[in-house]
């Protein structure tokens, strides 16, 4: 096997790249679908919310209910947009961070840990926004947010943050070592 030059980038594993590219593809499809199916999605969310008046605090007074529904629909749309944005961003970050880890981090255990944490955390985190959007019609804005936070944002986002700080420390140590 030929040893790569020390000043050249090493490519992370194909699985990592596949996860990142799939995430970016999902983000792009998500963005396009948001525009294409905006009306259908809004109708579905509105219908689902109207079927659960107690969850959303609907009181049967049109002026009051419309305001509540509008706010929930804005958040529903925001969740989809945030999924689109975060999935595109995190896909890129997965590629960049794993490339740095694969090239710069010497200890195999630490390198593997960083690659796994940033790939799993980075790929999972944006899905939390999709989950939040899907939950809003059923569980309300805050109920959906609490579930998405507990199930996705905290574990997956936490993993990505830990990975980035481990990588920052590893690169910093490498600078000092040289």
């Amino acid at each position: 096997m030929t040893e790569a030059r020390p000043d050249t980038w090493r490519v992370p594993s194909a699985w990592v790249l596949l996860a990142a590219i799939a995430l970016i593809a999902c983000a792009e499809v998500g963005g396009a679908s948001m525009a294409q199916f905006k009306l259908a999605l809004t109708r579905w969310a509105r219908g689902t919310m109207l079927a659960r008046p107690a969850t959303h605090g609907l009181v049967g007074v049109r002026d009051v209910d419309e305001q509540i529904l509008d706010e929930a629909l804005v958040k529903f749309d925001a969740g989809l947009r945030l999924f689109h944005l975060h999935a595109e961003g995190m896909g890129t970050i997965i590629i960049v961070a794993t490339m740095v880890a694969t090239t710069v981090v010497r200890a195999p255990g630490l390198r593997r840990a960083i690659v796994v944490l940033i790939t799993v955390g980075g790929a999972g985190y944006p899905l939390g926004y999709l989950l939040w959007s899907a939950l809003i019609p059923f569980a309300g804005i805050e109920g959906g947010k609490a579930l998405a936070e507990r199930l996705v944002w905290i574990p997956f986002g936490g993993a990505a943050i830990v990975a980035m700080w481990l990588l920052t420390a590893a690169v910093g140590r490498e600078i000092v070592r040289r």
Binding site: V100, W153, A160, L167, V171, G172, I175
Partner: protein
Amino acid sequence: MRRPPLVIVFLAILLVALGETAGALMSVVRPQIESYARARVAANPVAHGLAGTAEYDLEITSRAVFTAEAGLSFFHVHAEGLGPIILLATTVVATFVPSRRVRGCLYALFTLGGLFPLGYLVYAVAVLEAGRDTGVELAERYVLTPLGSATIVGLLALAVVLAGRRRTTPTG
């Protein structure tokens, strides 16, 4: 592809780490950030033009707090976005720019440009301490414009160098 100097790799990764952490903090300690911002506005009544009228002052305070929070949000977005851009741009520099001196200049420009997102932290603090419009103007004039310009100049210079290289290198 060649990798840029480790210091630039470190800066890019640090930016992303700070951006991610800021995003999480903005969500977790949002009430504390808001109450701190309101306290700072109240502590600088002259800078914010507070008049002592509850309704008017509340409106002014809310606008200043919203702008400061927007600064934090911009920091989160720009740090996560600019980190990979700096890394990719300097990788292109390391790989395709033959002159050591030109490479050094481009690295310096991109390193300076990499500090651009920190300007939004200055923006958030300046808004609270110096007033909304003055704070925004200070941050834009003295931090965001010079640092942002460094990235723009770096990218334009890199494009010129690549175009020149393409013209002098026979293809096929």
